[in-house]
Symmetry: C2
């Protein structure tokens, strides 16, 4: 129980008529600098309450009338005063130390606070000139909040100084660490809500301190805001003994410092003291790491801020406790037809003494404005929170230097992601301060081992002599948490750097919701001219569905393509390169792109190579094309289309079978690298025009389409195409069996035999021969089935198949 909880229980406290928090003004801090902080805090609180409630009368020049109040009250008060308190104190520290600090508002619905502070700092008016620093501007500031065409109740891309959306909870600390990596001068002050702290991603993010190197990285200063309540109940961390809480954070490797006084003045002086101490500790740890060879992991400071939820708001409403209770989560007062409520809001807002804060024009007083840091030191204007401003293009190697020599299609074998790993190694080597790779312990498994020739896995835990490429300064970020990988990468990108996340295809679903939220962030950011585009979020999805024969059903899921395809076309790209050289071209392209989520699906197993580097570049530039070397000239009888590496292999094998069985058949092979080429041009910027689409797939010839993912995605993409009825798609179907690689394809009818069977069935002039041809193919399938159950591996003719023509 924190010191505030009993305040309204004492006899004589005013319960009805309800009023603002009964904190006597004489407990304001005595220290002048803290009186100034308190003043800023009052101003930010006033501006926050105004945003939530008022349509008009922004400076309370008259009593609040019923019509001044928004018809729909959609903001959230609970977390806001705590955020304002922290922000005000951080500004003191920034000014005093010329500190380079950004602010991460983890708690949900903290929008009013971050917007209020950005406005007080002047940044808001610089970015949105209509929201001036005067009465008219305050009115706009208030009206726009949770209002049609306005801003949401969370920190969002609209919010200056934010790189963290406050909608879906759990990622604040991971984002903070991402921003701190390779930013030696930066301190990321990260407020973590005690609700948010219950999420899984946040619970593991405390361990990020084992991956931050004080000699090259900045610092993260977590501030756990223990305000005690979520939407409707208490938080876990606020209801365990203080001793347990301390042990928990020490166990996580932090040194917790508490701010938990019984009164306002005490809170200010404690907060100032622990902030100073924390900043001193951070500097000392950094100096030790940077000045000596001591690479010990510091026990970084963190702050536990114990405050009432809805602090300084109405203590009670209608006789029920509101301040320091879950009832202050959203709007403490809502029904303004109830007696006394209007007066309560009026008294609440006036308790911040607006007359002391604003001059006659509604401009914040000069003394208040002087409390803001200057220029880019303002947290709302720090360029690290608008990372595109700091972004430098990567120094990229020439893909041709990494090309696999392919004299003729199918003549050589390579592991695509291993070749890509060589390229990534050079990217790392050339960009040692702004590029990292992230993976849940799968960098080597995904065949990017070459990267470890130029850097290590990053680790600040104990290192043993027998460890393999492990050091504090490594640029390979491996932790068995897709959430951490994704969160770190997002923070790293949004603060102006570059990266690549390699992941097992099936387990990228672990961060499905994070990808959705990042896509939303990028989409909204594109519409804000002041947000400079950041580097794209690049995903290598490997160990993919078609080679999960041994891991089985739990590892088989290509559905991330469906999920991403449903998101905004502005920000999503899906690539399925069929071999190593196309993968190299796509990788190069992704690393040059901005503001996108690029998902690249590629296998890691040895596989035949189809295109020379020159061919690969042309093919990737087109995104989809006819493979002439595998096709017959002119109008074909059938189009054999493919998208994905295994589908391409099986399609070419099917083509070979068809040529043997029906030499007169005219076949066209179409390969799709850029899946969004299939989408119509009015729905996706990469969509093929109608004529080009028909040019590839013909107007009415059957298209046997072998696809890496669920067939329904192809149907959905080509739905509005004139020839869509001719598409016959083979792809992944839920099976659930353990088997051999080729048999995976057979079970899903994506194999050469099923593809060939479908083709012969669809070509009218093969109608007579089709039954016999199908029977031949069925016999081959039966032979395959017998063989694998006996030998446990595929038929030699399958394993050793080679393309010939």
């Amino acid at each position: 129980m924190n010191a505030f909880t009993s305040r309204n229980d004492v006899p004589g406290s005013i319960a009805m008529p309800d009023g603002p928090s009964q904190v006597p003004s004489d407990v304001e801090p005595a220290r002048p600098d803290l009186r100034a902080v308190d003043r800023w805090w009052r101003a930010a609180n006033y501006l926050s309450v105004g945003q939530i409630y008022l349509l008009d009368n922004p400076l309370l020049e008259r009593p609040i009338w019923r019509d001044d109040i928004k018809p729909r009250l959609l903001g959230h008060w609970g977390t806001t005063p705590g955020l304002n308190f922290v922000y005000a104190h951080l500004n003191r520290v920034i000014r005093q130390r010329d500190a380079n600090l950004i602010f991460m508002a983890g708690p949900g619905h903290g929008g009013p606070a971050v917007v209020a502070n950005a406005w007080l700092e002047g940044t808001y008016s610089e970015i949105y000139p209509a929201v001036t620093q005067d009465a008219q501007g305050v009115r706009r500031l208030f009206r726009q909040f949770s209002f049609p065409g306005g801003i949401p109740s969370h920190a969002s891309p609209d919010t200056p100084g934010s790189i963290h959306e406050g909608g879906e909870l759990g990622y604040a600390l991971s984002h903070a660490f991402g921003a701190a990596f390779d930013n030696p001068d930066l301190v990321v002050a990260c407020v973590v809500g005690d609700g948010e702290a219950e999420t899984g991603p946040l619970a593991t993010a405390w361990h990020s301190n084992k991956f931050l190197d004080p000699s090259r990285d900045g610092a993260v200063l977590p501030i756990l805001h223990l305000n005690g309540y979520k939407i409707a109940g208490p938080t876990v961390l606020s209801r365990i003994p203080r001793e347990e809480l301390t042990q928990l954070f020490r166990g996580y490797g932090w040194e917790p410092m508490y701010v938990d006084a019984g009164d306002r003045a005490g809170m200010h002086s404690q907060m100032a003291a622990v902030l100073d101490q924390a900043m001193d500790m951070i500097r000392q740890f950094q100096q030790r790491a940077r000045g000596t060879s001591d690479r010990a992991r510091p026990h970084w400071p963190m702050i536990v801020l114990v405050s009432p939820k809805g602090w300084t708001g109405p203590a009670t409403v209608d006789g029920l406790r509101v301040e320091d209770s879950w009832r202050s989560h959203q709007v403490p007062l809502s029904d303004f037809d109830a007696p006394g409520h209007l007066e309560c809001l009026d008294a609440w807002m006036r308790s911040y003494r607006p007359e002391e804060l604003f001059d006659g024009t509604g401009r914040p007083g000069a003394d208040l404005l002087a409390l803001a840091p200057q220029g880019g030191r303002r947290m709302s204007a720090n360029p690290h929170a608008n990372g595109g401003r700091l972004l430098r293009a990567l120094d990229l190697p020439d893909v041709r230097d990494h090309a696999v020599a392919v004299d003729r299609p199918g003549s050589v074998t390579a592991e695509a992601t291993r070749v890509q790993g060589g390229f990534i190694r050079e990217v790392v080597r050339r960009n040692m301060d702004c590029f990292r790779v992230f993976s849940p312990d799968e960098t080597a498994s995904n065949r990017w081992g070459a990267v470890l020739e130029v850097t290590d896995r990053c680790f600040m835990g104990r290192i043993e002599p027998t460890d393999d490429h492990l050091s504090p300064s490594g640029r390979v970020m491996e932790v068995l948490s897709e959430h951490q990988c994704e969160g770190w990468l997002e923070g790293y990108l949004l603060s102006g750097r570059h990266g690549f996340f390699s992941c097992y295809e099936a387990f990228i679903h672990v961060v499905a919701s994070m990808l959705i939220q990042h896509a939303k962030w990028l989409k909204v950011s594109r519409e804000l001219p002041w947000r400079v585009p950041v580097a794209s979020l690049n995903l290598l999805l490997t160990s993919h569905v078609w080679r999960q024969d041994h891991n089985g059903f739990s590892h088989q899921d290509p559905g991330v393509l469906d999920m991403l395809a449903s998101k905004s076309a502005d920000v999503v790209r899906l690539y399925l390169p069929p071999d190593a050289n196309t993968l190299l071209c796509i990788t190069d392209h992704c690393l040059r792109s901005r503001g996108l989520i690029n998902a690249v699906v590629a296998g890691k197993q040895p596989a035949p190579q189809w295109l020379s580097m020159e061919q690969a570049r042309a093919h990737c530039a087109a995104g989809a094309g006819v493979w002439d070397w595998a096709s017959d000239p002119g109008e074909p009888d059938v189009v054999m289309a493919c998208c994905g590496d295994v589908p391409t292999l099986e399609t070419l094998a099917a083509v070979q079978l068809l040529r043997q069985m029906a030499p007169d058949l005219k076949i066209r092979v179409v390969n799709v690298v850029d899946l969004m080429r299939l989408e119509s041009v009015d729905r996706h910027p990469h969509g093929l025009g109608g004529r080009a689409f028909i040019g590839l797939f013909t107007r009415r010839r059957p298209v046997i389409f072998a696809f890496h993912g669920y067939p329904s995605l192809i149907h959905r993409l080509v739905y509005s195409r004139a020839n869509h009825a001719h598409f016959h798609v083979h792809g992944f179907m839920e099976q659930g069996t353990t088997t051999t690689p080729f048999d995976m394809a057979v079970l899903n009818r994506l194999d050469r035999f099923h593809l060939a069977m479908n083709a012969v069935s669809r070509v009218p002039r093969l109608a007579k021969r089709a039954p016999a041809l199908r029977a031949m193919l069925e016999a081959r399938l039966a032979e395959h089935a017998t063989y694998i159950r006996q030998h446990g591996e595929d038929l030699p003719e399958i394993r050793k198949w080679q393309w010939t023509r």
Copy 2:
């Protein structure tokens, strides 16, 4: 560094030729009961190695030949000996105490271990009679592992005694707690891998102890297996100081007990001692809670088992450390053309002394068999791990007792989920030992507050007098972690109970991957006759996309429907009831169903009600139907179809507009409750037959379809329908704006005006009038746009609209 790591560093240790772990047999335990445990352990290890490697020669009656070895080595050794060690020790405890225990294998790829133990216990042969307890059976046991048509390398539904898939990591502890809730006699021994422990869901799951009531729930005994390595690197928890680790777990509220001896005998005696101590503590805590009024939260015991990874496997291979290193993660030996490898495998397997373990027929020795617990006490045969065997049908109230009285369509207003909450309250009241509701702090927000009239929120943290419906015995499980809610519920269901998870629609994506894995589990389970179906996993998805006007873009995502629709049709059902009575009928149906994931999308805002209970029952039974009361008789000019509550409202409003503007237009209104009715009958058991589909939607009339989710899902579902070209779908498009409820619909063209405009444009005989009608509707839209930007809420005519005919 644990005591084992230096074993092979001492001069003179055998590095080449490589051999098995150099543990002298004289360090076997002295205590006879522990010698027996060691014997079981050796047998399980032998059977595990055999599964990974051998096709034949299962009892090593001759040296291992090259041909005995599987052509593809796909198993994982690293975690296996530790799991076997724990299992063997737990069996001793079960026998000694007649304990009711189940086993949760958290680490990935633990399949060989759990299967080996189930076979030793006889359960495997009982369930799979072909895998006998003799030489022939051992041969089958070995061959089937990671083999075509066989079993995967994880614990999976095929594995007797498992309710936890070992594929995607992070959920073991949440599943364990779910199984322990309301199972006062049960102890769930849950091995947590130190890799898995890095995931977010696992990191927060340790806090589950704040939600387990010792007076009514069973116990969870976590065993953190600190074997030090993941696929390719060290684990975080194995590389922090022991003191930090202890603080971490004390901070989480556990009492950690270490097993970390330098030798085999010491490990056995320590493990036995801490297990006995832990079981004693559990019993004492339970006795205290059950015998007295002391409801203090116990500091439950947990075990930290420090062992080498790949323990007892080859110490080194080709001069590189394998045991106690990441190199033992998968197969310590793989290239059997390399010199000495075959001999090494032979020596390794013989180090378990199979000749002492099996009799001449390959049957485990009688002394070994006698070590297994009896019948249902065997962890592989415990009915709690095959929950359908224990499942009792819920005592369900009559939905009619909760019906909203609807005399005529649209005449009354209700909040659908609040009505549902009243029904759920009665379900809770009647099923106080086998039904719980789960939510990330949203039970009240989602309008299920009525449930709190009969039970509380469950909480074992400190409770304050001001708290609202909070107690240790509550049946409302609220924690701000969708992962915990989902994991607890899965464990609760898989052990034979019932539940409902209510969640904001957008944030169900947080557990997208868990839903995918659960769907896979259910699909495979259906194919196993011995797995008795469990209760369905029921999801209420509310606070949905169409009422996220204020929360904004981050809260707008209906894509979970797409994700679930792509999963196996056998196990997924999607319901979008348009009002309260249909929601009641669907809820009742879901609670009676078995083995499914039922996703129910329903709004919580006041909305007009359409159907009486009688009509609702008929409509839900049909799944989709013509609403005669809103339709004109006979063949219509246009079909106005809708699926979802907001789309239904807007469709009916559009119908009313159309009737006003074009009284001669013949309109049919079709409402879809069960989305899978749209799917073709050969793809989904709920799919409508072709004739029925045409009967509803007509053969060639335009269908204006207003859909709750992404339009592409409807296109995908009706793709193969004869009339699909006539479907014009309105649904969610990514927008990203803060606005009013109705304007949300306008921005997405799902509103009455856009629906009506599309309808007039599609009906040939309105062609002449269409431009004028569209202009009228456009004017209304313009008026709306002006109004909301001024007033911040929708036009009164929109807010107060009522259905009339």
